[in-house]
Amino acid sequence: MTDIYEPLVKIVGKNYVSNQKEERYFYARDGGLMPAHEPDYVVLPRTTEEVQEIVKLANREKVAIVPKGAGLALTGLVIPQKGGIVLDMKRMDRILEVNEKARYVVVEGGTTQGALKSYLQKHHPDLRHSIPDSPPVATVVANVVIHGQGRLSHQYGFNSDMVSGLEVVLPTGELCRLGSCSVSSYWFSKGAPLPDLSGLFLGWFGATGIITKLGLKLYPCKKMRDVMVVLTDRAELVPDILLKLSHTEMMEDINVSAQPLPLRFKGTFWIMGYITGDSEDELEFKRQMVWGSLWDYFEKREVGLLSVSPDMKAPLMSMPSKDLTRFADVAKGGGFQYAGPITPIEKFPAFIKKLEEVAAKYQVFYASTTRLIGSGHCMMFSFSFSFNRANPDEMARAKKALDEASGFALEEGGVLWKADLDEQKMLMGKMDPNTLNLMKKIKQLLDPNGIMNPGNWEVK
């Protein structure tokens, strides 16, 4: 392979490119369980033009290139399987435009969730975006690239459904705009009424191009917010409870927690629903509607409403959830990964049973958070395991548990989310051959030299 260090320095300056051991070590891995693989270069571009230059160079030299946000997808999607360049997007972090009247924001390819949240709070307090519960350094673009879900997903679907326009550097270096912004200065739609080309990039894990700008829909931000915690001890009731809650159309976000520790969670499912209002009266109306929807279950003593003390409420109200991040390190030693199949909510009891079964079989510490997507159209059910990275045996057991859980999810009609390489193979093995062929043609058309995040969505 030609040494492209100097040409890269020419593009971004020597402070923003490295071929040193330390950086290569760090960028060879994420916090999850996929094996590490070192890049040859780590590059941090600042502008779209720099990204174009880097991509053109890589394409010319047939060097692999992997775009990276915060690396928090945790399924090895930013591990450079064939070496080459890891393109760390964190310097492209500007918030370019907020259109208050059309309710969208345009951000650069490396803008973080935390930065967007605080920017909106400060400058546009009536607007918000669907923030996921990943640590705040996670990037907005990568989250839609993997079809993430956030705090407004019950109301508005996957976060990627909220995209309102894209600017992409194609694997051959051309710059391309998709959606309304391709014909207008407004970024209000990613497709309609044009052919929707955003699907060539969303869900592709960076294997078809690098998103340098993203339009994202914003939603009304009410003045007050509250959480209601509903408990049941019967997994088989959970789907119906979720549908009943969803039917009220009063909740912006609905999650279910299941975990054996701390002990207060043992043996019960905690359903947490968030309501918002511009006044205490509005909140109270919503509380009553929500509670009314579960009254029959309550009278039968199957479902309870938990009193939430101020100390308990504070972490539940934090966005992103601090509890989730805390769990991610519960085994100490910084290892955490989850399989999060997207699946019909009727599968909840079967998935819980499987989770308990694999956790016991492989002796790993588990937790699960389910998030309702759309009005109950599906859910993200997480099989989450935390492990100590200094304990290879524990890591191997966690990986086996995840693989078994993913295999099960697929059998049950689920679709694996942010699939690692093994899971992608499982998915493609089950996929309609014509669909697979179409994916292959798209990939070949866009990325003739196969330089973009190689290994991912690679149809043999």
């Binding site: 709070q121 918000r128 931000c221 009410k222 003045k223 007050m224 917010r225 408990l231 049941t232 001890d233 701390p262 002990l263 207060r264 969670f265 043992k266 043996g267 019960t268 499912f269 918002t276 509380r287 009553q288 509670w291 009254w295 309550f298 003593r301 199957e302 479902v303 309870g304 409403l305 938990l306 009193s307 003390s309 101020p310 100390d311 409420k313 504070a314 109200m317 934090s318 966005m319």
Partner: protein, 349 residues
């Protein structure tokens, strides 16, 4: 297995049936009360068993210390009645299960019990705790377990309480200052009612505070404040400690406002009702209670129990009344600061 010492002959002679006639949640005339109570005694079905909100108050109403509430709970459990939904009961049983994760300080003859309430970590500060602050026990292993009275699970109390007493005894503690009022009620009312021996002397923290305040008498600057006192459910297990509230208040210049819902007619924090009977009753009781505080012109609402604090502090604060725990109030009187405060409630959107 310990058995409740309940004397039905006392009831046979009792004309007033104060236990049920005074109940704030079940409206009964004397005759019906007598009939229903007889059913409860006989182990027959009575609507009282379903209607009881588990406010504990009949323990105080009974002039013969015959433990009517404990009998109600026994009967509820025998009949499989769930005063709260099953998952709530399960959650409570699991969360306070002893698992060997307790905290013990440098234990002396006399010690403080934080029960299983982390709020005492914030509260126990300053001069009032000089010389005893490090002699502390905390955790599920020292949890008084009386809460299961709300959930028709005396069986859990009977199983866990003797072990808790043993755990305390093993620390060599001879006198235990109960910072959680409910621990005191457990050791002085519940345990004896079941014939369970308490191998140390329980001291109510009101008494402790009163004695310490007297030591610091010259430091006390009268607070000159008007106070609504928030009586809690477990205060009904040890009504004999109520006079300490008056004693402390008179020492520090706080006026215990004469209001409808104090003393025997006190309303508990009602958060248990939310889980047991649903939000409507809980909200209604809380509203009545707080409106009463506002009506009499309370500047402060003084809490005895940290659980009441969790339920009501935020709500009284919204009505312009300052919430404060009794320990903090005493600290204020000797020029120290309030340390248990409401968390900056994350209302961010």
């Amino acid at each position: 297995m310990s058995e409740l010492k309940f004397d039905k002959t006392k009831c046979a002679d009792c004309q007033a049936v104060a236990c049920l006639v005074k109940c704030q949640y079940i409206d009964l005339d004397r005759n019906t009360a007598k009939q229903e109570w007889q059913k409860v005694i006989n182990g027959e079905d009575s609507f009282v068993l379903e209607a009881c909100t588990t406010c504990y108050a009949c323990e105080e109403y009974c002039p013969f210390e015959n433990h009517p509430f404990y009998l109600i709970v026994e009967r509820q459990e025998e009949k499989g009645i769930l005063p709260a939904p099953r998952p709530i009961v399960t959650m409570w049983i699991n969360q306070c299960q002893p698992v060997g994760k307790f905290m013990v300080g440098k234990i002396e003859r006399k010690a403080l019990s934080y029960c299983y309430l982390p709020q005492f970590n914030a509260l126990v500060k300053g001069k009032l705790f000089n010389g005893i602050a490090s002699s502390v026990i905390f955790g599920q292993e020292f949890f008084c377990n009386a809460v299961y009275l709300h959930y028709a699970r005396t069986s859990v109390i009977k199983e866990r309480l003797p072990k808790v007493l043993d755990n305390i005894n093993k620390q060599g503690i001879k006198e235990l200052v109960c910072l959680h009022d409910e621990c005191y009620g457990t050791f002085t009312s519940l345990a004896p009612a079941y014939g369970i021996d308490v191998p140390f002397k329980p001291i109510h923290y009101f008494e402790y505070l009163y004695e310490r305040l007297k030591e610091y008498k010259e430091r006390i600057r009268p607070l000159n404040i008007k106070v609504a006192y928030q009586r809690n459910c477990s205060a009904r297990l040890a009504p004999e400690t109520d006079h300490f509230v008056d004693d402390i208040f008179s020492l520090i210049g706080a006026e215990r406002l004469n209001r409808e819902y104090d003393r025997e007619n006190g309303l508990c924090c009602a958060e248990i009702f939310r889980m047991a009977k649903g939000p409507k009753l809980a909200d209604e009781v809380q509203r009545r209670n707080i409106d009463d505080m506002v009506r009499v012109g309370a500047e402060y609402c003084v809490f005895n129990c940290p659980a009441c604090w969790d339920s009501l502090a935020d709500k009284v604060a919204r009505k312009g009344i300052k919430p404060i725990h009794m320990i903090d109030l005493c600290k204020l009187a000797i020029g120290e600061e309030q340390s248990l405060k409401l968390p900056a409630l994350t209302v961010e959107v």
